[in-house]
């Protein structure tokens, strides 16, 4: 149940936990943002380490991240009732502990409820509100969604108000369903070109808590007007605005379509970011249901460039670049930007693409799951995962393969 805001009280300004880290430690942020439990491991002697060292403390060899077992045993548990740090003091009491990892190192961790010395726990690598990787320990199988410390590091839609920017996206309807199921307080769904029929209008209306609103992300006026109405009431924004128009450089109307794709995907994001970004960043600590996350649903072809999707890929590449700027702005309020990289979706525009394609429900579930885990990057679909793996392994080979139309 969402409690209404007391208009007499000042909105709490966002504070962040300590954010200083070594340069090497940012490798952990990438792993945490993707939901991987990778720890620093010596490339010479194979010892795991914590915290992130510059070199192996045992043999001075290089250290790289490696998937690690998540098991650990609690050595000691403490509750900080009056922490010295302002961020934690506002959220006290705060539980911390010392654990012995099964893979070797000892670590100071954020501790889940009811963990006592001697307990077996599972470790997670999480991003805190400063966007830095931290260790969180909780009993295996324990439901964590009600834990305030876990809540602080994730973006649970429960009792939060969510804006989905484009009702015409293939994932919009299943996303609204999934958010309703997850307990969202309100689900606002933007309808571009409201004067055109929306075949799913009745289906949206049947979902509890859903409201359809006119929203054209290619219009300054439309975006600004909506922000004037609801900019201070959106805790999670999911940007689904897209314009899939496959075609290479020589395709008919390639320039016009590339421009339109850029207007929707890249400049649309910019327009949203300019008005909703500051509003959300300013409400990052507005109670326990304050603004928490912004999700950009992007195409993997913004990162892996396919000649047959030249304009579309360029628009998504531009949106990814804008996303970096938005992430920096949102971070000041502790609001997370989650990028969802999807492969070709099950819609008319990717009709001729080979399977497996990404269905709307799969994309929706991945988004909600990513929010619940507090992730920064989610990859959806076998093709997207495969392309990114191949890109990391051998970029030139991927370039040549895509030039030949081999996905």
């Amino acid at each position: 149940m969402r409690i209404k805001k007391n208009p007499v009280l000042r909105t709490r300004r966002p504070l962040l936990p300590p954010g200083a880290r070594s340069r090497a430690a940012h490798l952990l942020a990438a792993a945490a943002g993707q939901g991987r439990f990778d720890l620093p491991c010596c490339t010479g002697c194979g010892r795991f380490a914590w915290p992130m060292p510059e070199l192996c403390a045992a043999c001075l060899s290089e250290v790289a991240l490696k998937p690690a077992p998540t098991g650990a045993t609690v050595i000691s548990a403490t509750t900080a009732e009056v922490p010295a740090d302002s961020y934690f003091r506002e959220r006290a009491p705060w539980r911390v502990g010392l654990v012995q990892m099964d893979c070797g190192p000892q670590a100071v961790v954020h501790l889940g409820p009811d963990c006592a010395p001697g307990d077996k726990v599972a470790l997670s690598l999480m991003l805190d509100r400063a966007g830095q990787a931290v260790l969180f320990a909780a009993k295996k199988g324990q439901a964590m969604t009600a834990d305030p410390q876990w809540h602080e590091m994730t973006a649970n839609p429960r009792d939060r108000r969510v804006l989905i920017t484009d009702a015409r996206h293939v994932a919009a309807l299943p996303l609204a369903c999934a958010l309703a199921k997850a307990g969202a307080a309100a689900i606002l769904v933007g309808v571009p070109e409201d004067w055109k029929p929306l075949p799913t209008r009745e289906a949206f209306a049947a979902i509890p808590g859903v409201s359809l609103l006119p929203l054209d992300v290619i219009s300054d006026r439309s975006v600004e007007d909506l922000a004037r109405d609801i900019g201070g009431k959106v805790e999670i924004l999911i940007n689904t605005a897209d314009l899939p128009r496959p075609g290479g450089l020589g395709a008919p109307a390639a320039a016009a379509e590339a421009r339109q794709a850029m207007e929707v995907v890249a400049f649309g994001l910019m327009r949203l970011a300019r008005v909703f970004g500051p509003a959300m960043a300013g409400r990052g600590a507005d109670g326990d249901k304050g603004a928490v996350a912004w999700v950009n649903v992007a195409s993997v072809f913004g990162r892996v460039h396919a000649p047959g999707l030249a304009g579309y890929g360029a628009a998504h590449a531009a949106a990814l670049a804008y996303g970096q700027a938005l992430r920096a702005d949102l971070a000041q309020g502790g609001v997370r930007l989650m990028t969802v990289l999807s492969g070709p979706t099950e819609d008319d525009w990717f009709q001729t693409f080979p399977q497996p394609k990404v269905g709307g429900s799969a994309l929706a579930n991945a988004i909600v799951s990513g929010l619940m885990k507090g992730l920064e990057e989610v990859v959806v679909g076998d093709l997207a995962r495969d392309l990114l793996d191949r890109l990391a392994e051998n970029p030139k080979a991927v370039e040549r393969e895509l030039a030949q139309g081999r996905f």
């Binding site: 006119p214 300054d220 016009a256």
Partner: protein
């Protein structure tokens, strides 16, 4: 002498000016084609400055739009049948065509009950019986009161396309070839009926008008303020290089009360 009389009539209200133009807004519906065809860019108005840090003393915007958005003019080159017409683009069309008499055919009652109402030759001949022969070189404006609709009701798109009133094929052939009109204007998004793509020939207003070097006007408004005969239309499209059409301000000079 004639112009002095005109300006005097304008000053006294003996001649009134009626604006037949819809406001150019970002959410005004545009023609919808199957999306695999190129689509017209909608109207976009982006602020450069408004007495702010980007321009402390001045207000101005960047505008962008397709040639066929808002209240707009169709030149002969817009359709394949008019591709070989001399001076068939908006930058070259004769300026004397930009000021011409206009007649108004009132189809508002039928359009109120039938979204697909068609203006027929029979109806035109009945109109002539009452108001006299449609003059050669005149604009023929089809009043449907469609301009009083907004948004989805204005576009009126269904699964089988748009449903909006317009002329049938024989009416257009007759107006162009037997009456020698200058152009045809509507209150809807196109000069053709919403289902005009299924007529023979497809899109007969475009086909006959532009094939004979005549013009189209669409998304007009305020036709209820224009009398059936006796009005003069001022319709001057932007002088776009090799343009197939353009948004424009359409004014009617009508007799005062």
């Amino acid at each position: 002498m004639v112009l002095e009389t005109l300006t005097a009539a304008l000053a006294t209200g003996a001649v009134r000016v009626v604006d037949l133009t819809q406001t150019l807004t970002e959410d005004f519906p545009t023609i919808v084609l199957p999306p695999e065809f190129g689509a017209s860019a909608p109207v976009r108005i982006e602020r450069i400055s408004r007495y702010d840090a980007a321009g402390p003393a001045w207000y101005w915007n960047n505008l962008s739009f397709g040639e066929h958005t808002g209240t707009h003019f169709d030149a002969p080159a817009h359709w394949f049948t008019g591709r070989d017409i001399p001076r068939g683009t908006v930058d070259t069309l004769p300026p004397e065509h930009m000021v011409a008499p206009a007649v108004v055919i009132d189809c508002s009652a039928a359009s109120a009950t039938d979204d697909d109402h068609l203006l027929t030759r029979v109806a035109l001949e009945a109109w002539e019986a009452e108001h006299g022969r449609i003059p050669a070189g005149a604009w023929v404006l089809m009043r449907s009161d469609w301009s009083q609709r907004r948004g989805a009701a204005y576009a009126n798109l269904r699964a089988d396309g748009a449903h909006t009133p317009g002329p049938d094929a024989e009416a257009m052939r007759w107006l162009v070839h037997d009456r020698g009109i200058l152009g045809f204007g509507t209150e809807t998004i196109g000069t053709d009926a919403g289902q005009g793509g299924d007529f023979t020939p497809p899109y007969p207003a475009h086909h006959y008008l532009h094939g004979a070097g005549r013009y189209g006007l669409q998304c007009l408004t305020n036709l209820h303020l224009v009398p059936p005969t006796g009005a003069v239309l001022l319709a001057a499209p932007l002088k776009v290089h090799e343009g197939s059409g353009s948004p424009l301000r359409v004014l009617a000079l009508v007799p005062g009360a």
